[in-house]
């Protein structure tokens, strides 16, 4: 009887409501070449999920099409049970660091306050409240001393922290981050991991495009393996297996397999 209610229709509905991100049949093609093919992804609320896969697997495309930056050929995206367009306020995006020109004439504080532009609305300028939120976020990422610094003078790790702070001020529930560890030093990587775990503890859901297979089980609790099609997704200790890695990367991952979970190690 207990088991009945566990697997019954009612329980399943409840579960689907708790899904932070629910992607179904997502297909994206550039011209005639499919980049994502029929991808489904269910991410429960409150997990730290790594999206991994070889170059050209469509990881960035997945994030961008979920956020509506790329128009998918097919598929739907729900954020907490509703279409993305209605739930924009719940979502924050950290683009790839290299996607902007850091020689743009502005400073750190200004960039972080951009995170509030969505909620400030038209015509109004960032004010005291935005300043307050921005300084708090800069404090969190350890960049408060660089508040007035020109962004052209930042190192790669500092740029990444500024982007993270900008997403933090959005006070979202779901975070999409595109390679936040790319080209940052060990200290920054540790700091970012700490921040990700803090976010999870605060009940947020974080999806991260990740490259370093060796740190997947250390940093994340969920993982999605992607190579145009979804290979697998789920808790790290269930799906981060040698077999799945082979499927995602082809046969060239022998040197990595000792980092995966081999059942009950």
């Amino acid at each position: 009887m207990v088991s009945y209610s566990l697997f019954g229709q009612e329980e399943e509905n409840l579960n689907s409501k708790k899904l932070a991100v629910d992607v179904a049949d997502l297909t994206v093609a550039y011209r005639d070449k499919p980049v994502l093919w029929d991808v489904d992804l269910q991410v429960p609320s409150g997990v730290l999920l790594a999206i991994i896969g070889p170059n050209g697997a469509g990881k960035t495309t997945l994030i961008k099409s979920v956020l509506g930056l790329i128009k998918p050929a097919a598929g739907r995206v729900l954020i907490y049970g509703k279409p993305y367009a209605q739930q924009r306020g719940l979502v924050a995006y950290v683009p790839q660091r290299g996607s902007v020109d850091w020689d743009f004439p502005t400073n750190v504080l200004d960039v972080v306050m951009m995170g509030r532009y969505g909620s400030i609305g038209w015509i109004r300028r960032p004010g005291k409240n935005e300043y307050q939120l921005a300084t708090e976020a800069l404090e969190k990422v350890g960049m408060i001393d660089f508040m007035k610094r020109q962004i052209s003078q930042l190192s790669g790790g500092q740029q990444q922290r500024v982007f993270l702070a900008r997403a933090l001020v959005q006070d979202a529930r779901v975070y999409f981050m595109d390679e936040p560890f790319q080209g940052v030093d060990a200290t920054t990587e540790k700091a970012i991991v700490g921040l990700l775990k803090e976010l999870r503890e605060a009940g947020k859901t974080v999806l991260v495009v990740h490259h370093d297979l060796q740190t997947v089980s250390e940093y994340f609790d969920w993982v999605m393996l992607l190579n145009v099609r979804k290979i697998s997704s789920g808790p790290v200790d269930e799906v981060f297996t040698e077999q799945n890695l082979r499927l995602a990367y082809g046969g060239k991952v022998a040197f990595l397999t000792h980092h995966t979970h081999q059942g009950n190690d």
Partner: protein, 376 residues
């Protein structure tokens, strides 16, 4: 000079010309800043060239030379050109730069054909249409300037109203889109404003060189500041300065086309900015480099003397300059460096013209070696 000022205040033509050129400079400077930051500098070139057939067609259809009608034709053609460029880039394998070149030359060529055709016909009032090639400020009328001012106020107000959105659009459009900004509409609006800024300058500067008024003031302003707001203001000031001075020069000297004169003025501003701007200026960078290079050479000679003293186990022993020169392969300038070191009292010259470290110099040399080689 005072005569010029006098004319400026009381001469109707000169006042009109200066006002018009100033307004176009302000507007193209402000919008140009965004074009440059969004890496769309060449779009200005394409738009202004693409405007020519619009001007010619507007004349052919209406047989009127009213500025507003010609500007409307120019804006329409310029906008169509822009639209083509975006679509060619998005939907074909042709890259953005090729698309720009393609549209620019095709539209401009068509414009020239139309212009020649018009000149061969016996339209009584066609004279002056060819002035749109290189611009003629003296032809500006008060009502032209009024049109320019109204359009400028409109465009600049939009710039102020959507300031933070345009800033985000220029810095990180994808992120803006994720926040829910209607990025495509904003892009369309900003590009439209750029087209307006370009076409209101065509009569004065001409289609061939108008793009300089979009790119040059912004490039010069970028040298001086690291803030977007200040950059836009400076760019407008530079644009206005070049516009006014160029227009005045070409109005007071006969047969001097306005466009090229304005471009010479703005080029001067760019040159000064690139060379002397605080921080980014080439002259300061060069001086800093020279200073560093000089410092390194001095330290090299100092450490050579230290190494010699170390090898001989004595700091009293002096060494002839030829030895130091031999050791200096790669850094050179030994004589000058020794002179500077002597001034600092870190080395001294013995009566036999050979050189030796002073105790002070020894301390400095030790600092260079950072505690290593502590033989002395």
């Amino acid at each position: 000079m005072s005569e010029l000022l006098n004319n400026l205040l009381f001469d109707y033509t000169l006042r009109t010309v200066a006002l018009g050129a100033g307004v176009l400079g302000i507007l193209s400077g402000a919008l140009g800043s965004f074009a440059v930051l969004r890496k769309q500098s060449l779009l200005g070139d394409a738009v202004s060239h693409a405007a020519l057939p619009g001007i010619a067609l507007a004349f052919l259809l209406t047989l009127s030379k009213a500025t507003l009608i010609l500007i409307l034709g120019a804006a329409l053609a310029g906008w169509i050109g822009t639209y083509f460029i975006f679509h060619i880039t998005r939907n074909t394998r042709i890259k953005n730069d090729s698309a720009l070149g393609l549209i620019l030359s095709v539209f401009f060529g068509f414009g020239l054909v139309l212009l020649t055709y018009i000149q061969k016909q016996s339209y009584s009032n066609q004279a002056g249409l060819d002035k749109f090639l290189f611009g003629q400020a003296a032809a500006l009328l008060q009502r032209d300037v009024l049109t320019m001012i109204i359009l400028s106020v409109l465009v600049l107000s939009l710039l102020v109203i959507f300031w933070k959105e345009f800033k985000l659009l220029s810095f990180n459009a994808d992120y803006g889109s994720s926040l829910g900004l209607p990025v495509k509409k904003l892009d369309f609006l900003l590009t439209g404003m750029l087209v307006i800024a370009i076409v209101i300058g065509l009569q004065t500067v001409g289609v061939v060189l108008m793009s300089a008024m979009v790119v040059a003031p912004a490039a010069a302003a970028r040298q001086w500041t690291e803030r977007l707001g200040l950059m836009v203001i400076l760019s407008s000031v530079f644009g206005a300065f070049a516009g006014i001075s160029g227009a005045l020069l070409s109005s007071s000297i006969s047969r001097l086309p306005t466009g090229p004169t304005i471009v010479v003025c703005i080029s001067f501003v760019v040159l000064v900015s690139v060379l002397f701007a605080s921080g980014r200026g080439l002259v300061w960078t060069w001086l800093r480099e020279q200073r560093n290079r000089h410092k390194i050479k001095i330290e090299a000679v100092l450490s050579d003397l230290y190494i010699l003293a170390e090898q001989h186990g004595s700091i009293e022993r002096s060494h002839p300059i030829s030895v130091l020169r031999a050791m200096s392969i790669g850094h050179g300038g030994v004589d000058r460096s020794l002179g500077d070191l002597k001034e600092k009292k870190w080395v001294e010259q013995k009566p036999d013209e050979s050189w030796v470290l002073t105790p002070l110099g020894l301390e400095e040399a030790k600092k260079l070696f950072d505690g290593k080689n502590k033989i002395l």
